[in-house]
Amino acid sequence: MSTSEQTGTIHADDGAVLADVAGMLRVILDEYGPDDTEIGMDTTFTGDLELESIDLVTLAGELQARYGDRVNFAEFVADMDLEEIIALTVGRLVTHVVMCLNSPENSPEAG
């Protein structure tokens, strides 16, 4: 994990999760050919990266593979309409992932 492990708990921070998510996005973007768009917290999935909604489904699968059930993209977007989802920024997703990973419910002791 690129998230830092501390005694008994896993502590995730924005920088580590951003690096993870950016890596996932690079793999998805590679399918469209070479792309050197910088990926930061303010980058939008659709406006900047020009991703399709089906790419976000792929991203959801990558998040599941990386973080397991601790992060559920489908639940994260469940209350958003499609316009809001495609206007999402990388930063909003990163913040959500960090919150999920640092949630007491997701600590190893919580079982």
Binding site: T46, L51, I54, L56, V57, T58, A74, E75, A78
Partner: protein
């Protein structure tokens, strides 16, 4: 990403099991529309709420669409119905399932309900109709125009879409243009075998038909109710064809209770994550 090979084509499948690991109250297979559509339209609208309500949700990209394979030929309606049949076999979903179809996805669902009536617990269609002579004529005109515009001035068409409909629609349109260019879809769909009224009448399962009140297709609701023994029609105010995207909450509120009302005991099926 899960790819399921039917023996003929690889289909991209996403499955959302009931949340919390509880037993499924029903299985719903969600079928998307043509060209610019994919399973993402469900993944971000109906699917999470269905799974939260205890429905085992199966979504897939039709051949040529989304992340499914894109063979050069094989785009008649019967082939799409065969894909659905083969997919349910591969997933070992032999029990009756609920089919939810948006636009062309509903046309595929009607085709399957006619072919395998015992395997369909219910049919919920959004802005859709069964394959008739009129449907084929309409699709011939629509797909012919798409092909002509793209072949004559694809760059200008896509630039106009980007400027007037936004970057996401532009990206979807670029994918649709690839599908139109690389396959026979625009010629094969209008040439599909259609259903007689008698065959449409053979659909005995409960049907829920949802239309945008402002859509040209809304009149199909009256016609369907006159043909089918158990057909409920609902119109969504101020919506046209894109009801699912424009009013996902209304679609959820209409379809989910309807599935709960018509729930059927189904097997758990093969595990797919």
């Amino acid at each position: 990403m899960a790819m399921v090979h039917t023996g003929d084509v690889g289909l991209h499948v996403q499955r959302l099991p009931p949340t919390g690991g509880r037993p499924a109250i029903a299985t719903a297979v969600l079928l998307h529309g043509l060209l610019t559509d994919s399973l993402a339209s469900y993944y971000f609208t109906l699917a999470p709420a269905f799974a939260a309500a205890g429905v085992d949700v199966v979504m897939y990209d039709h051949r040529g669409h989304g992340r499914s394979e894109r063979p050069a030929t094989g785009y008649g309606l019967d082939t799409f119905v065969t894909d659905l049949e083969a997919l349910l076999d591969r997933l070992e979903l032999a029990g009756p399932v609920h089919l939810v179809g948006n636009s062309f996805g509903g046309t595929v669902a009607f085709g399957y309900a006619v072919r395998r009536p015992q395997r369909v617990a219910g049919l919920a269609v959004i802005e859709s109709e069964p394959a008739t002579v009129g449907w084929a004529h309409k699709l011939r005109g629509l797909l012919g125009r798409v092909e002509a515009e793209l072949s004559e001035n694809e760059t200008e068409v896509l630039a106009w879409i980007a400027a007037n409909r936004g970057p996401h629609t532009a990206r979807l349109s670029r994918s649709a243009a690839r599908l139109v260019r690389a396959t026979t879809i625009t010629r094969e769909i209008p040439a599909s075998r259609v259903l007689s009224e008698d065959r449409i009448r053979s659909v005995r399962c409960p049907v829920l038909a949802v239309y945008g009140a402002e859509s040209d297709l809304a009149v199909q609701g009256m016609w369907l109710s006159s043909l089918l023994p158990d057909c409920r029609v609902r119109l969504v105010p101020r919506c046209e064809h894109s009801v699912l995207v424009e009013a996902p909450g209304v679609c959820r509120e209409l379809i989910l209770p309807w599935i709960e009302e018509h729930r059927a005991v189904t097997g758990a099926g093969a595990e797919l994550r």
